[in-house]
Symmetry: C2
Subunit: 342 residues, 2 copies
């Protein structure tokens, strides 16, 4: 077959193709993070991404090794007045109370049913794990997925009145998009239960189920009459918090991330693991400094305590995002504000 | 900016672009599985892939849901005279014996050091797990990766004299490529230890570390003086065999595969889990029928026993690949044979 275009015009064709093909890159480069004010964090993100994606750079990283990991609670969406998944669990205890008359007189369930925050707080992490097990297990993975999706569709946040899946950080959504446009693979690595996060991560963050890593319960395969199910059991398999994060990253991904973003001491080991790799690395922390548009908390907070990790960030020059100063907009539903870092 | 090509020639340009862009598809469609003889298995694979990738088909599956899972031992590479990873482990026991004088008088290690196959067989699966733990743990993940790569580079198969990483099935490599060209995500889900398989899966099969799922040991994060390591402990975390396969698929991938390929009863539950999903599915078994070019074994074999899964395949019309009749070539290093299914 001969070309329908005379040979002499191939140079023009090539130029046109080059221009058309580079257009998305030019648009992207113009303004990759519109909800971030000009400031140190935006600058450090863009400089890092440019360094590792520029073929001519000494810091160039092959696309398949561009692994980016993000905590979820407090990093991609809000976590106040308590982890949203805990709010789900409390609602599930109430929804299921008719099937569990014993909960009326058994802690920590009694505290949940009576809205007794003091008794609930007294039950501590053990109490929370009991509530988690009671609301996350004893059912098939498909049934749990349905419960999680139903709650996420109906529940509203006590302060904003918005669905929880809208209380996500617009600047972080833009960062996820920006990274993916530069051939990063974006993962969630978070203390939340894997199945719960998978119920919204793909739709809300563009992160597919296989890139969601979290806390897991032991499951069991059951097969009868050509019907196959996987049943969630109450036995904890993996606690994806603190040192559990680098462990699950290594088990599931098998590559060390070159970028990690968190917001609390529970992310410290993930950041350390990322930082200790060879070559250029990016370690980031969302610092909740915004009493007006979100919440302000760090060293003394029960939820999302940021203390040791803040010290390490200061010591090693990790990026700490001052939410109040550096984020032009918090949630997608916010009007764009005009605040700017001076 | 105006186009450097006059408007009237855009029709020609469009035609050229269309032709150029469709060329790879035409080539692909012409002969996607060259080492497969024309026969029922090749036909069923191609019919399945065409059905789920054709936008107009009632069986169309969105690209992100095109998950394909493959067992490794006996499905992607050979497994005789015993699992290659077990041969690695036996060699590692010998290599490390100076550091373990107690092994001289402790089973199953004594059997390994004395090449006492009878005593080794008598130690059974418990013995194998002891050997696995002794050779796969008590070191960092990086150190283990080095040991595995070193062995894979040097060791040779007792029968063929070839590196183990060359005793892979050419027809299955072509199938992996074919599926990926049709936007499938190809996973290994196998009883082998995850880190061992990751040491060669990317180079040999084109399957990246994050798509390798296998047996795992509990690991621990350690951090000292800004040096971070993940240490393998001897405690088994997950046995990725039998019912362990659908469990790990659900935990790690979080989507049900639409295609699964195995070769033994250890793959039965993975095939059942795949088969029990809604919509069109493909379940395949490699049947080792080739005494001349590979090995022939099934119902009575100690390694790779194929008994119950063969019955289920017959009952439900799963694809059973007759290796002797349907594979034109076994290994990449084989000369192409001219055998054809009549």
């Amino acid at each position: 077959m001969t070309s329908p275009i005379p040979i002499r015009q191939h140079a023009g064709l090539k130029l046109l193709l080059t221009l058309v093909l580079s257009l998305p890159l030019l648009v992207q480069a113009a303004s990759p993070l519109p909800s971030w004010n000009e400031g140190p964090s935006k600058k450090s993100i863009i400089e890092f991404v440019q360094a590792v994606t520029d073929q001519g750079s000494k810091d160039f990283v092959k696309p398949e090794e561009r692994i980016a990991v993000f905590d979820n609670d407090g990093t991609l969406w809000s976590e106040q007045p308590m982890y949203f998944e805990l709010l789900f669990s409390l609602d599930e205890v109430k929804r299921n109370q008719a099937q569990h008359p014993e909960w009326k007189t058994t802690q920590p369930f009694q505290a949940v049913l009576e809205n007794d925050h003091k008794a609930l707080a007294a039950a501590g992490m053990d109490g929370i794990m009991k509530i988690f097990a009671a609301t996350h297990t004893g059912m098939t993975t498909e049934a749990f997925d349905d419960y999680a999706r139903t709650w996420l569709a109906q529940a509203r946040h006590p302060k904003t009145g918005k669905p929880y899946t809208e209380m996500i950080y617009q600047p972080m959504l833009e960062m996820l998009d920006y990274l993916r446009s530069q051939d990063f693979k974006t993962y969630i690595v978070s203390g939340g239960e894997t199945g719960f996060m998978r119920a919204f991560a793909e739709k809300v963050y563009g992160v597919p189920p296989e890139q969601v890593i979290g806390t897991t319960f032991v499951t069991a395969f059951e097969y009868k009459d050509r019907k196959a199910t996987i049943v969630r059991t109450p036995k904890l398999a993996h606690n994806d918090d603190g040192p559990g994060k680098p462990v699950s990253i290594e088990t599931v991904i098998g590559r060390r991330p070159i970028l990690a973003f968190g917001n609390s001491d529970g992310d410290l080991q993930m950041l350390q693991w990322t930082a200790a790799g060879s070559g250029k690395r990016f370690m980031g922390l969302v610092h909740h400094t915004d009493t007006k548009r979100e919440w302000a908390y760090d060293r003394q907070s029960q939820i999302g305590r940021l203390d040791k990790a803040l010290d390490e960030a200061d010591k090693h020059g990790w990026t700490v995002v001052d939410m109040a100063a550096e984020w032009r907009r918090i949630y997608p539903f916010d009007a764009t504000t005009t605040e700017q870092v001076q």
